[in-house]
Symmetry: C2
Subunit: 398 residues, 2 copies
């Protein structure tokens, strides 16, 4: 039923690189629907269950809360799993968007989205350290960032410095860069010149790992899938700081051992980051791990179990962990979260951590909820079909 | 070629329960070959490569060394892997057993055996804290304990109190009981009343886990293979302190979840010990593990890889480790090793840690090296065929 929609990009879903001037509708009337959210009542395929819902302007924020307006909200792979209902984090039901019908107490809905950059628009009593116009990101998980505006608890947001940082940088700061940063910090005490190994090195997290490692003086041994334009990809990853880039096919080459040995120059690899989650390739990669090494898995996109040789645990003292940034936020203090954001924004401002390649999808205020719903579902269908290949960021017309 | 030998136990290899009075040869002459070792020149099937070698009496020990005489030396499963050459620990070559031929510099040999109880027979200069007659066990790995006597570095042995402890207790104290004890201590801080889960619960380590856990007030959820005499095995394990005993088949029973929940009474299992090393059953067992749990694998007998769901690592914060008692000895101090032995001997003396079921195989001093070799090879063939089912301990005639 969606195949026809794929032929062309539907009118009203404006796609633009954020570095270009923002595309504006040529309509002479200004957008009429400025408060909208992408919601669902039941789990399922996002291209079938999501819909766009318009709601009235927010009341003045109550004590301890602020009103925010989202500037950009990414669609992350895990967001799709949340809508499907197969992700461990669940959003809470929202019942105060409207007075009656969908989004009210009669028919509560989930709002999609876990990550996003917002701006403070008004501030309730008993809120310290925030001003109107401040950039904020959510530290609460599954907050429903695919919204135009929200009333949120001040404790659930963290201020982000908006000088020298692009909107895309700030909108994508809470999931992938901290995953990369914390995996590099939390498991092995690495010194300048030490090596880290990873698969899925061209994923969003993988690229952040390469850049943060390079900024810290760490060397990276990176594995990617072989492909037609492999030399281009290798160049791209080396350009952002990758020390060595190999394909999984290279793992079959017996001469690789000697090569890697030469590269390491007597060092041992004690940290391996596993995005792929598959058995065979991960096991092969582990051959290059030293004794007492740590394998940290963070990508569960592959539904296949992790198959590891028992002997690696017993005789090489391998320890296998899982990293989940959502848990990190839950168990760490507010001060630690703020420190993390400060560290990452510094790296971004110094040009050491680039914004991801991306496309901005704008939701036109002129469109009816029905029209906007059709367009949003089409975006998710294109995503599922792998038609993007870069990060998609949602933007609601003001 | 060995099948004929299996028909009956060959003369000269005396098998007796050590709790019974020791069987003595009725021969009127006393044994003539009192210094012997079980050696091999190349890796392979123990039933094919091992041979018994007689060597002269030891010289008086040099400074810092002592001469010891082995009382009992177990054959552990890992010892077979060492002889096969598939185990990460390798013994060092011995070239001073005899002046010429096999066991000399011309033809150095490996001596089998990693664990054993010995008695100090003479002491060199500069050795503190040891007396003739003291019981000692090896802290050096692959020391060649399948010997009648040895000259050893005093640093490579630890004294064991010989009051209130059987020879079998002391001879089997360095591998299985410390594996059980350290796995219970090193990964999760368990409080009285907490639960531990394990598979292979009727293995030597498994039974030690049950007993040590019970002595510490911990509860155990134990999994074993289903078998004809399962209720007998369950009774036996409960008798030594198992709280609950289940079979892997029970894991298919959907009502098990509720049962386990009731048993746990609100507690979560945070430590699982994996002897089997197989994927499926381990994964099934992990369903009963709480968040932030630790899976410790120590048995590599199954050559199959450990297959674990990536989601357990990421979303349940599972950490997977390997435990190897050999590594523990390498990285811990002498004081820690002695403390460990003291703790285990206390448990044994208090009757809280029973000696393993066992058979003693005596090597008759009347037999020629050729005869003894045939008999020893037969023992290993019986072991490989699973003909024992209890721990085999070697004893050299004095």
């Amino acid at each position: 039923m969606f195949s026809l929609l794929l032929r062309s990009r539907p009118a009203g879903v404006h796609v633009a690189r954020v570095s270009l001037p923002k595309y504006r509708s040529l309509s002479t009337t200004s957008p009429t629907r400025t408060n909208r959210a992408i919601v669902y009542s039941q789990n399922g395929n996002p291209a079938e269950v999501l819909s766009v819902l318009t709601y009235p302007s927010l009341a003045h924020p109550t004590s301890g809360t602020v009103n925010i307006r989202y500037l950009l909200s990414p669609i992350n792979p895990a967001d799709v799993n949340v809508v499907e209902g197969v992700y461990p984090s669940k959003p809470t039901l929202t019942s105060n968007l409207v007075q009656s019908g969908k989004g009210s107490k009669d028919e509560p809905v989930f709002i999609g989205g876990n990550e996003g950059l917002a701006q403070v628009t008004s501030i309730g009593e008993n809120v310290d350290g925030l001003n109107v116009g401040d950039w904020v990101v959510m530290v609460k998980q599954q907050a429903g960032t695919w919204s135009a505006s929200q009333n949120v608890n001040a404790q659930d947001i963290v201020k982000i410095p908006n000088q020298g940082l692009s909107e895309v940088h700030a909108a994508t700061i809470t999931v992938n860069p901290p995953t990369a940063y914390n995996m590099l910090m939390d498991y092995v005490e690495l010194q300048e010149g030490d090596w880290v190994m990873q698969n899925g090195a061209n994923s969003a997290v993988g690229q952040a790992v390469i850049q943060i490692a390079a900024a810290r003086g760490l060397k990276t041994l990176n594995f990617v899938r072989n492909r037609d334009d492999i030399s281009q990809l290798k160049d791209q990853l080396r350009k952002i700081g990758a020390t060595q880039v190999l394909t999984y096919d290279d793992l079959n080459d017996k001469s690789l051992r000697d090569k890697v040995k030469t590269w390491l120059g007597g060092k041992e690899i004690l940290l391996a980051l596993n995005c792929v989650g598959k058995g065979g390739e991960t096991t092969e990669m582990l051959r290059y791990m030293g004794k007492d090494g740590h394998l940290v898995s963070y990508g569960a996109m592959s539904k296949q179990p992790l198959s590891l040789p028992t002997s690696a645990f017993i005789f090489k003292n391998l320890t296998a962990h899982g990293f989940w940034q959502s848990r990190w936020y839950l168990v760490r203090s507010r001060a630690e979260r703020e420190q993390l954001m400060a560290t990452l924004t510094s790296l971004m401002k110094e040009g050491k951590l680039a914004a991801p390649e991306h496309e901005v999808v704008s939701i036109d205020g002129q469109d009816s909820d029905g029209e906007a719903t059709t367009k949003i579902r089409n975006v998710f269908q294109r995503l599922a079909a792998g038609r993007y290949g870069k990060k998609v960021l949602l933007k609601f017309d003001e």
